[in-house]
Symmetry: C2
Subunit: 378 residues, 2 copies
Amino acid sequence: MRWAGRGTEPEAVERFYAVIPAGGIGSRLWPLSRADAPKFLHDLTGSGQTLLKETWDRLSPIAGDDRVMVVCGRAHRAAVEEQLPKLEDRNVVLESEGKDSSAAIGLAAAILEHREPGVIIGSFAADHVIGDQRRFRQAVVEAVAVADAGYIATIGILPSEPAIGFGYIEGGQKLDVPGTTAAYAVTRFVEKPDLATAREYVESGRYLWNGGMFIARADALLDEMAKTKPQLVAGLRRLAAAWDTPERGVVVDEEWPRLEKIAIDYSVAEPAAAAGRLAVVVGEFPWDDVGDFASIAKLQSGGRGSDLAILGEHARVLADSSSGIVVTDRDRLITLIGVENIVVVDTEDALLVTTSEHAQRVKSVVDALKLSGRTDVL
Amino acid sequence: MRWAGRGTEPEAVERFYAVIPAGGIGSRLWPLSRADAPKFLHDLTGSGQTLLKETWDRLSPIAGDDRVMVVCGRAHRAAVEEQLPKLEDRNVVLESEGKDSSAAIGLAAAILEHREPGVIIGSFAADHVIGDQRRFRQAVVEAVAVADAGYIATIGILPSEPAIGFGYIEGGQKLDVPGTTAAYAVTRFVEKPDLATAREYVESGRYLWNGGMFIARADALLDEMAKTKPQLVAGLRRLAAAWDTPERGVVVDEEWPRLEKIAIDYSVAEPAAAAGRLAVVVGEFPWDDVGDFASIAKLQSGGRGSDLAILGEHARVLADSSSGIVVTDRDRLITLIGVENIVVVDTEDALLVTTSEHAQRVKSVVDALKLSGRTDVL
């Protein structure tokens, strides 16, 4: 199924292919997210759907069920296929070992370019939340037009507040690309700012949130990556050439271990921005990367941040003068008395108690557990 | 075994019998304390011993193993006997139904008076903590002397701080009783004060904490109780007369249901104080009624109240910038990040998260659970 009214969109959308790299575990959401149950396999919005399924449901009406590719680890194949029954076998790319986003997205680009020269790919995280499907679709269609004009395109989200948990994109000159209304050259990408800087960014009107979405012709993306990482791209192209042949296994065994681990922000986005080849389309939709339990609490409470959010199909919670979030995959009674902005995550073998303020620090605890060898709970 | 040096103590100690009413559940310590696992059956000090066993270990060297009586519910008989292997059968008094402290202590007094006229009994809660056994023993010996002189005696604890969680005893004139150094007439008993009042009490030097210990000739205690509750005492005396006979069952069935439920504070202590028949011996030992999780945290941290206390044989706790107390009877990983004065109690079917400040409110949650019929977790 394609989305309604598609006939009025630019022809380039016909060449669009959606890519969903589903690699990250989501350490900041431990102990809910685990190596064997990563963030994208959870329902973190209370919608009854996993984040991965919601991502599919956003993209398949734009690209078509047969034009959505998922890149994931072997360990998650069964769970991914269970979530996405319409995902085609040839659209499942299994990673022998996680090699970060440049390799994941680059391999998808190389395979698709090999199969279908001139294809335009769009890469979208498997574990983000987007609130307005119509506006998201509009932004993707504009970004495809920008990509068709030769740019590496991204979608920057119009900030609703001076968030300090996201990276920002600084926009420059407006671009005159047919079929677009809000496309700009990207001046630079910036990492998560402090609150004062975030306020300046939002007040200036020149900054957008970096939602980690990249839309480009597959060949343009690989050419850009090859400027900074030629060996990596050579490996990806060799893998792609063998992918649909009996040689795949042999080439994977040879090439995979030596693929460089690097985020696409460093191999493509930042250098392309510096060279003036990166464009941003403004996305005016609610978006969140659901980065920690504080953001889940906020999403659940509709932004108020004062109520108690409860996530869990069988949750039994008794709360007295308490706010924050309870996440549980169990049915035992959880009682809260007089705790504010609390975060309680209750799983069979691990319990986390923290506050919204400290939710980002969960990752360092996971790192500490890794270092101390307590991998039974990771 | 009797305690060392006993030969130098007054003859009246020979007539001493210790009574341990083990009736309360300890609702403020839910979900650790339950109907089937009341407070006195837990190790709340990390000593490796239950509070009941510690109480026995304090009293049996004074009274003798064969002169300690426990009054408890039928449901707890097996657990009590397991804890106290030297407890004699005839010293176990089973309550058909809880009837509060006047009936529990009064029945023990009546049975012992019937068996051994002139006996002096001392009643001590099964679930308090006392830090200095030698000084406790000294206070008991003095209280026995005071009881032998005809008073209803209590032991008041010299306050170490203006606690608001305890009741207070106002002392009056010093009593001239042979064998005592610090015995006073009691002016009145007062309920838990607010902080300002507690400060006045402590500064005045006239107030002691009410530790709920009563020492008296059994006949004097019953006579005192009979002044306010003649029917109750008549029932208790009838039960006592039948207790060691084949008639016990019949008389219990008849009398037990109509025993009045009333705390001994109201039936004996307050009226006796008003009439000048109550005396207090000053106890200079660390004491705590372990009334809620905040007091356990404080006991565990040696009064500092800033560290993280952990209670649980198999506890696995990872804490980052956190203070308070974790109590668990399980072995799953509990992680705390940036939570201060937190109280986390982790049991198989219920989890409690609160703070030291709100620890007293646990009781009202238990009451709410009772009212809503969720007795499966009580």
